[in-house]
């Protein structure tokens, strides 16, 4: 390993939705990690964490994809993911794909142990307590399910957001209830998913916040899509965009530069 105690080598797991839909979140992650004293690299061989296969019951494909990820991300000090859902896949689920293959199981567990969701990595591992960012407005924060319940992410984003100058956080009545995205759930059961996200957008609207933040692109696209359909003025962003002070140059999700 090339680690030096002061400057760990961090591999960024970009996630397929950030890659395809919101590349700026990847750059925000790199910027935040560098500000936290990390040397960031982006392994080229990555595509997706495999959840679409894993959660559809296609264990063979999920296992094959996991092997590729284990190879691609070997040798780094940490793996950081700007998503609780994909982070949870790597750190909570992936080792169990190899429960009857002890050698790969050990490698998967080693990867799991060094994998962290972005914001919790900044606070819990790198000890970051504040960011150099400003945001003029009121925001509300949605706790994405996997980040909250698999990885215990709750206070970390709020702690860093509290240091953003000009930003006020107003909580929803139930920030922890699922937004109805659920990966393939939202297209397999669109009627139920739409009702669930409508309950969520009503809660968002009731806060009076001008901006909705969360740490997972899937949930964000779902809520942004519903807010847009409702004609809501609420803007939607990944929390890393705010923490990396990108919001002046980057239109919100689904918005176009005038």
């Amino acid at each position: 390993m090339t680690q030096t105690a002061s400057r760990p080598r961090v591999a960024l797991f970009v996630t397929c939705l950030v890659d395809l839909h919101r590349p700026s979140v990847g750059f925000a992650a790199i910027q935040l990690l560098e500000a936290a004293g990390c040397q960031v690299e982006v392994p080229r061989a990555q595509t997706c964490c495999g959840q679409p296969a894993y959660n559809s019951g296609d264990r063979a494909t999920a296992t094959a994809m996991a092997r590729a990820i284990i190879d691609a991300f070997a040798g780094y000090d940490y793996v950081v993911v700007p998503s609780g859902s994909c982070g949870g896949m790597l750190s909570s689920h992936m080792p169990h794909l190899f429960d009857d293959d002890p050698n790969t199981r050990a490698r998967a567990q080693a990867l799991a142990d060094k994998t962290h969701e972005l914001v919790s990595f900044l606070t819990d591992i790198r000890g970051m307590t504040e960011v150099a960012a400003s945001f003029d407005g009121t925001v509300t924060y949605h706790d994405s399910c996997a980040g909250l319940r698999e990885l215990g992410i709750k206070t970390q984003p709020r702690e860093l957001l509290a240091s953003v100058s000009g930003l006020t956080l107003v909580e929803m009545t139930d920030p922890e209830i699922c937004c109805g995205f659920g990966g393939t759930f939202c297209v397999k059961y669109p009627d139920i998913s739409t009702r669930m996200v409508s309950d969520k957008t009503a809660d968002i609207a009731a806060t009076g916040a001008g901006t909705l933040l969360a740490g997972d692109m899937g949930c964000l696209l779902n809520m942004a899509g519903r807010l847009s359909r409702e004609g809501s003025p609420v803007q939607v962003r990944h929390v890393a965009e705010v923490l990396a002070n990108m919001t002046n140059d980057l239109p919100a999700i689904g918005q176009v530069r005038p």
């Binding site: 982006v42 959660n55 559809s56 296609d58 494909t61 319940r149 759930f185 297209v187 176009v256």
Partner: protein, 474 residues
């Protein structure tokens, strides 16, 4: 009960349009989690208790034969009778035989989900015996000829107005100008009318929350006291219990009871907790002359040793459904059989076949809330995923789903090709969305765009931009 689980999608679409159901669910989805949270906050050792509950159940399941045989011996020692039923047919036959032997005309019933699973009421009616549900929720459902929509609050889907309407329609012997202002008025009317039924019944049937091996007892918890009148007044008491209800000791049962009501209703204890051990003894003042337990397997022993064994820890508290965002959106009837919500989505495919219930384990966002509140820590999302794996192995999913998944998987395992395909997709979507920045309709994505816009991507992929940045820096 005829299963309509295969029609979950249609059932839920209908449910979403039902305004009364929506009202009932909206009230419950806030109230019940708040009650549980308050009860849990008042018991500092609750989290440790969940581990204890899980361990008691795991230990019992690992030695199930031993504890069931011990329990049986102690029932017999107390003068009771045990009837083993491997199938639903066996269980129905055993219940009917007892009722017929004693010449039963009416049978009172406490609330029992296994009796719903066995469709005991229909079976008794077919043979000229009248079953009378005495739990308030079950009583109104019997009047309305509806199945329960929840495992502890069977009339979860109804509002107070529905109760009043049904009572006025059926209780025509009572003054028409009587007032139903509160739940108490409904309760008191039902109590008055049920009193004579309790006294006239020849047989009382209850479920069991627990069977206790060391004493041969059965335990029921209720909030209305109807279960006690059902099991003590008639000449014969029949307990219906599935095999996984057994716990080794009285102390184990009390640990489980500390978890049960808090998880279910947020009470510290249910109002009535009753232990039955055998029938009436020579010097007892009351109690049934005969005490029978029909022990039902009906597919459960086949779960032992499989990836579904942990499901047998379930104590039927309903915390998983009370906290489930899908259940509290579509209601219990959408699930199409006896057991709804997350626990039903795992159990139903086992009991009626995954080919008939395959929708259920798919109708979850895997949000994990159910597992986080389960008093015996059943990994419900993991087991729903196991069902999806079995469906995938058996090719039970729609062809289009399999084809799309296979195509995506093929590309996603070839990073260079994947880079190219995603780059084309990102640019095309950005271009097509134009100044709107979003799609209001999109071919092949109608499921998404029916209720939501699809925000357009930024325009180029992360990897393309990152590669360009690296080249510029070099």
């Amino acid at each position: 009960m005829l299963a309509t689980s295969a029609d979950f999608k249609d059932n839920s679409t209908r449910a979403l349009q039902d305004k009364g159901l929506h009202k009932a669910l909206q009230a419950a989805r806030v109230a019940l989690p708040a009650k549980r949270a308050a009860a849990v906050a008042n018991l500092p050792e609750f989290e440790q208790l969940r581990d204890i509950g899980r361990d008691i159940k795991n230990h019992t399941l690992a030695h199930l034969d031993f504890y069931l045989e011990t329990w049986e011996r102690n029932v017999l020692n107390a003068g009771g009778h045990v009837h083993w039923a491997s199938t639903a047919d066996d269980a129905r036959a055993a219940v009917l035989a007892i009722c017929q032997r004693v010449g039963a005309r009416t049978v009172t019933k406490g609330k029992s989900m296994v009796s719903e699973e066995l469709a005991i009421n229909e079976h008794l009616e077919k043979h000229g015996i009248t079953p009378i549900e005495t739990d308030l929720g079950e009583y109104i459902l019997q009047i309305r000829n509806e199945p329960p929509s929840h495992i502890i609050g069977p009339a979860f889907h109804l509002n107070r107005e529905d109760w009043e309407e049904s009572f006025r329609k059926v209780h025509t012997q009572l003054p028409a100008d009587r007032v139903f202002a509160e739940r108490r008025d409904i309760m008191s009317e039902a109590r008055t009318l049920l009193r004579e039924k309790f006294l006239a019944a020849d047989v009382g049937i209850t479920g069991a929350n627990f069977l206790i091996a060391e004493t041969g007892s059965s335990v029921i918890v209720t909030n209305e006291g109807n279960g006690d009148l059902t099991q003590t007044l008639p000449r014969v008491h029949i307990v219906l219990a599935s095999i996984e209800k057994v716990v080794p000791t009285l102390e184990d049962a009390t640990n489980m009871l500390r978890l049960l009501a808090r998880s279910a209703t947020g009470q510290d204890m249910s109002v009535y907790t009753t232990f039955s051990t055998g029938g009436r003894r020579p010097n007892d003042l009351d109690g049934p002359e005969e005490y029978h337990v029909v022990v039902v397997d009906n597919g459960r022993s086949a779960m032992i040793g499989t990836e579904f064994q942990d499901m047998l820890r379930c104590i039927r508290c309903a915390a998983c459904m009370n906290h489930c965002p899908v259940y509290t959106t579509v209601g219990g009837h959408s699930y199409g059989w006896v057991y709804p919500g997350p626990m039903g989505s795992v159990l139903t495919p086992m009991l009626i076949g995954v080919d008939k219930a395959g929708n259920l384990p798919n109708a979850s966002t895997f949000c994990g809330k159910c597992e986080s509140v389960c008093p015996v820590k059943i990994p419900l999302p993991k087991m729903m995923r196991h069902w999806r794996e079995r469906e995938f192995e058996r090719h039970l999913q729609p062809m289009a789903v399999r084809t799309n998944l296979a195509l995506w998987a093929w590309v996603a395992q070839r990073p260079a090709l994947y880079r190219l395909a995603t780059r084309i997709a990102a640019k095309a979507l950005k271009l097509l969305a134009g100044k709107n920045g979003k799609f209001t309709t999109l071919p092949l994505a109608s499921g998404w765009t029916a209720g939501r816009d699809l925000p357009a991507p930024e325009g180029d992929t992360f990897f393309a931009r990152y590669a360009a940045q690296q080249r510029n820096q070099a």
